[in-house]
Amino acid sequence: MSDTLRLSSETDLPWSKIIRSEHNLLYLDFYELWRYRDLIFLMVKRDFHATYAQTILGPLWFIIQPLLTSSLFTILFTQVAKISTDGIPPFLFYMSGVVAWGYFSDCLTKTAATFRANAHVFGKVYFPRLVVPIASVITCLINFAVQFSIFFLIYLVLLFKGASLHPSFRVIVLPVLIIQMALLGIGLGCLLSSMTVRYRDLAMAIGFLTQMWMYASCVFYPLSSIPKDWQWVLVLNPMVPVIESFRFAFLGAGTVEIWQLAIGAIVSAILLLLGVMVFNHTARTFNDTV
């Protein structure tokens, strides 16, 4: 009975949807996205289960990956190449870079696969397509949270052992940094995902691209090790101020200025806007071109 009541009250409303060929590129139906919030969380749950079904170590992989990479970096860059770490214990220095970069690159590669991985579903059912990248970013956030807690644990242990770490009140910027990485990842991922619909070989370039980008993002060297005259070039990369701020907040050493963060935020915002616009445009006719 309640169903019929709701039915009649809803039909008194004006048109709830108008489908036409042209549409406003900047228009984003936030109310609709909100209505599909349960789908976002169910997708996160599904991704999590599906990734670790029938694996031996399951979610332990989240922890093993950054630990192994950081150990490798410690041996490679500190012991062999003798790159400075701004006086921070090398393992923590690398792990901070690896964990932060890992979140961003996960967001980017997952989002960039949106159209390719969901071609079949997109061809059969309508739901706001942005649900998929949003769910990916949340899935990545869970991985990040696990990795970050391991980082934090090691951090606390070293702090009690008297290592020269200088935590400051600045750790409160962490959420801001996470949001910035997520937005940058979504924005660029949406853009790349839309472009791969047209140029398939881009899919292969993305892995390579993110790796190149990592080398330019202060993941295994501090910004201070770059000659002063050239630092501004690196700062144009929006990930550099993010990783430097992350280190500065937790480890007390890093080169970061407010204007650098601001540039990063502006670049991220522009990429996000552009990415979502192109993504929405592609989503409307995607099924005719695959």
């Binding site: 709830s16 060929s21 061809g123």
Partner: protein, 423 residues
Amino acid sequence: MSLSKTAIEANRISKRYRLGVINRGMLYQDLQSYWARLRGKPDPHAPLNPDGTESDHKIGEFWALRDVSFSLEQGEAMAIIGKNGSGKSTLLKILSQITAPTTGEARIRGRVASMLEVGTGFHSELTGRANVYINGAILGMTKREIDVRFDDIVGFAGVERFIDTPVKRYSSGMSVRLAFSVAAHLAAEILIVDEVLAVGDSDFQRKCLGKMAQIVREGRTILFVSHNMQIVRSLCSRALLLESGVATRSGQSDEVIRYYLRGKDENYHAREEPPVPGPSTPLFPSLLTLRDTCGNTRAEFHLGEDWCLDVLLDVRKAVSDFRLQVNVNEADNFCALAHSSKNSTLKPGRYKVSFTFVEKLRAGEYRFTLLSFSGSRVLHSLVSELVVKIDHVPCTNDPIRWFSYGGVVVSSDEPDVVPTTEY
């Protein structure tokens, strides 16, 4: 009821597809074209006519729909009928927002749920329960709406005992039943249904039909695509006929169906070339041929005679664990018998499957539904327009031989899927 309001209003909807190569796939060529257009120079990559003049771009166009208009009152059930390739699916895709129209506009009042396929988003690693939730959410339900309907959904599909088992352990029938059940319990005011009834055994098909009739009685709006005129008559009060993308008739379903069937000649066709589906479909049947066991192409057979159906398959993308199922349906669309090919893994190319039917069917007319599976997932379904006719003349003069079939179960072999160069 006097307050009935319009649920869907479609106003001159058209959809254009480009044929052939959609883009050249080379970024630098696209940039060259763009740069040339920007300077007002001729596009260096524009297709040329044989005489060297720039070709008319319109040659490669195809209008799947042309100025289709209709309106549907709240609580009405309307069928869209027409041949394969007449634009029915395109219209449903536009109304369910899977693709945008080229011109025209549709206004919709209320929530739309579309069932263009069963089981979209099913993940084989997840349990039945998890799949019900994710599939329901993809189709537009909130978690709470699924909670309320969960027991009904599972009960309707009859999989209570296996609901916490991963779907990969289900039989294909079970996962299809569960998927349909989710779709049948959607909480939307407007339902858009493609011929998904073509799956499942005949008991389940009857159950699905009953559910659809119930949905109509509940006063929800339904837009329904079907090839089966009997079902259309029983479910829908109105019908819209599409012919080559143009709406040629609309009105009372009886009257539209009569008009639609007018032109059908009495000869039974033994060959059918189904339309080529969109490029995202990994494989599709490209030619169906009915023949007798000696290889003569014909569609009318005698009582008790063995007959064959050859299916040519065009495989675009590699498919693993492939199986082709043919349902032979009686006039009321209930499956009289079903046959399946052997499971095989296919590389892109052309394949042939020959089904030989040795079961003794009653005299009458039968139609086919072809379902292509990969594991338990339906990759492609086709409602064929071929009709096989079994007449009342026994194939042999020996009545004893004919009657000896009574009560004996004769079953056809599962045919292989073999590569072929035939066209």
